[in-house]
Symmetry: C2
DNA sequence: TTGAAAGCGCTAACAC
DNA sequence: GTGTTAGCGCTTTCAA
């Protein structure tokens, strides 16, 4: 049970063949090279001895470790666990596994983790940390490091990514509010150095236009992080603007929570006084008080597809770069209602 | 930037010394063996060439990989991310890292992941998956595999664990309700094959006793998993028992959520009709409707301490086995009030 | 189809 | 102090 002391040699000895032959017999890709009967004998010996190949030794030899580096801002952000599971499940299905690292949005940490993973000979990367202008990503791409982005993309899309259609997402959010009769809608945006921040901001403008609504630029603010605190701060700017609005579309659920806080602070009630729409549909936001109307994104699928895309590139490095745009979906709950009472 | 083609040899050549010397100079533990000046020269050459040691090669040689296997039921259970971050942060601080795997409470998967990690030569394990009677843990311990349990423990504690004082936790929960005037308190327990399930159940009985309250055994049920669904099912049994009760203490927050569902289902209001107390203080349960009164456990510290304990064992394998019992804390919110209107 | 031999990048006796 | 040597467990030419 302890450290596998049983090696290829042991199996070879037991089966009366050369270690090289054992290697060939045990590797599905090379099994064809070996006589069917010998192969069976080797396999039998292997199982009998309880042989477990040593992935490190293999990796050292082949420079392929069967692992993928996954960089994300912070695992405790509820957005990420489902994405990670999606990644892990797909990787596991092909016998690979993920190496996780949290970067806390720190570019230096990010680079350090990236390099440490490279040293560990990961076969590729999945990044949930990309900024719109991201040196690390740029360098990795020119260096030919297999990589796919998830949730966020970079400017000048030469890198495969699995992201959500934010234009559509905002269309759903704004359309819903407009349908309810809201005319004065504010946007609590995300950091503009992130594709998600800018994408939803653009989506907001586009959707307002489509609905025939005027955007009051004082009612478009950008939080400097996708956190509740940052959301609170930015929401305060909205309320301090002196402009009138009856609804706010937040660029993500955490921001919407920050908005909830400000509402409570000022004795305002949601949705009676102000309707709020979130983005992401994080776990449990449906059970908040009030249940958050939000744009659902397929978390798990984002991760799973990103992993698939990466596997694809790993198998076929020269294939065309493809990205995936997943469709969001509106989930209407209690935080939105018709305006004015 | 790409694959590190620069090896010990390269550095050696550049510095005009033997690779062995480079190895010694670069390893803090053996640096003392080498002349100060040579060491400096080597270091300079290493940085100049951008040398990155290959952890795989080192691991192969030393059988120590600098990684720790972490088995947990499911990363998307909000309980775990903070624990995992605690583990990762501590490991990272000593240059190690974690390999995660989700087992979905499947013993077979668990064993398989365990073995695959062993094959990857992890230096030790942190398990959040232990059952009270756990063959895998038992075998690993006799095999001398360094391991520490987190959150859950096993029967016959011969294995280091970092857990929460459930007796105290239940004392807080029951005491709070008793203080509010509740006399008829139900327990929505967890699976009894888990130390957390049984521990909180025992804590419930003990605390009721301490408060001078009688336990109605019909009002003590056990869910068969720590999930919202299982909680709902079990809570239904409570309400179908025909017994009178004004409060329920759930063995965890997810179970409490299941209870919320049943309440809603039956047109009951919390806390007016029934007070509910949870356990764990998962992220965001304070924002539920109603905000959940619960017993807070120090998630992050659980993970961090588990990692520290493991590092301790790794450094000093023969040291005494120690476990840690962390103190919980009551967080009173809106789901509890005095009984009877 | 199988054996022989070299070597992935590193560490650790052992010698000098 | 530093060089030499062997080898961790595996894959993969190259011969046979």
């Amino acid at each position: 049970m302890k450290r596998t002391p049983v090696t290829l040699r042991d199996v070879a000895g037991h089966a009366g063949v050369h270690p090289g032959t054992v290697s060939r017999a045990l590797n599905p890709a090379t099994r064809a090279m070996v006589n069917e009967r010998t192969a069976r004998r080797v396999l039998a010996a292997a199982t009998e001895l309880g042989y477990r190949p040593n992935p490190l030794a293999r990796a050292l030899k082949t420079t392929r470790s069967g692992t993928v580096g996954v960089l994300l801002p912070d695992l405790t952000n509820p957005l990420f666990p489902p994405i990670v599971r999606g990644i892990e499940d797909v990787l596991e299905s092909v016998g690979m596994s993920a190496l996780l690292a949290n970067t806390d949005n720190d570019a230096e940490r990010e680079r350090q983790q990236f390099e440490s993973m490279q040293a560990r000979q990961v076969d590729g990367f999945i990044l949930a940390t990309a900024r719109r202008h991201d040196d690390l990503v740029a360098e990795a791409i020119v260096a030919g490091v297999p990589m796919v982005l998830v949730n966020r993309s970079v400017e000048g899309k030469k890198v495969p990514a699995v992201i959500v259609d934010d234009l559509e997402g905002l269309r759903l959010a704004v359309g819903h509010l407009a349908g309810l009769g809201h005319q004065h809608i504010a946007h609590l945006g995300g950091p503009e150095e992130l594709s998600t921040g800018i994408g939803r901001r653009r989506g907001f403008f586009a959707a307002m236009e489509e609905c025939g609504l005027k955007v009051d630029r004082k009612l478009v603010v950008a939080a400097d992080a996708f956190t509740e605190i940052a959301g609170e701060k930015a929401a305060r700017r909205l309320f301090d603007s002196g402009r009138r609005f009856t609804a706010v579309v937040a660029a993500n659920d955490l921001l919407a929570l920050g908005c909830y806080d400000v509402l409570a602070d000022r004795g305002l009630t949601c949705p009676r006084d102000i309707s709020v729409v979130g983005y992401n549909d994080m776990p449990f936001v449906g059970r908040l008080d009030p249940g958050l109307t939000t744009v659902r994104i397929p978390h798990y699928a984002l991760g799973a597809e990103a992993a698939r895309l990466l596997l694809d590139r790993l198998e076929n490095p020269t294939s065309m770069i493809k990205s995936l745009l997943l469709a969001p979906e509106l989930v209407v709950r209690a935080s939105t209602s018709a305006p004015g009472r």
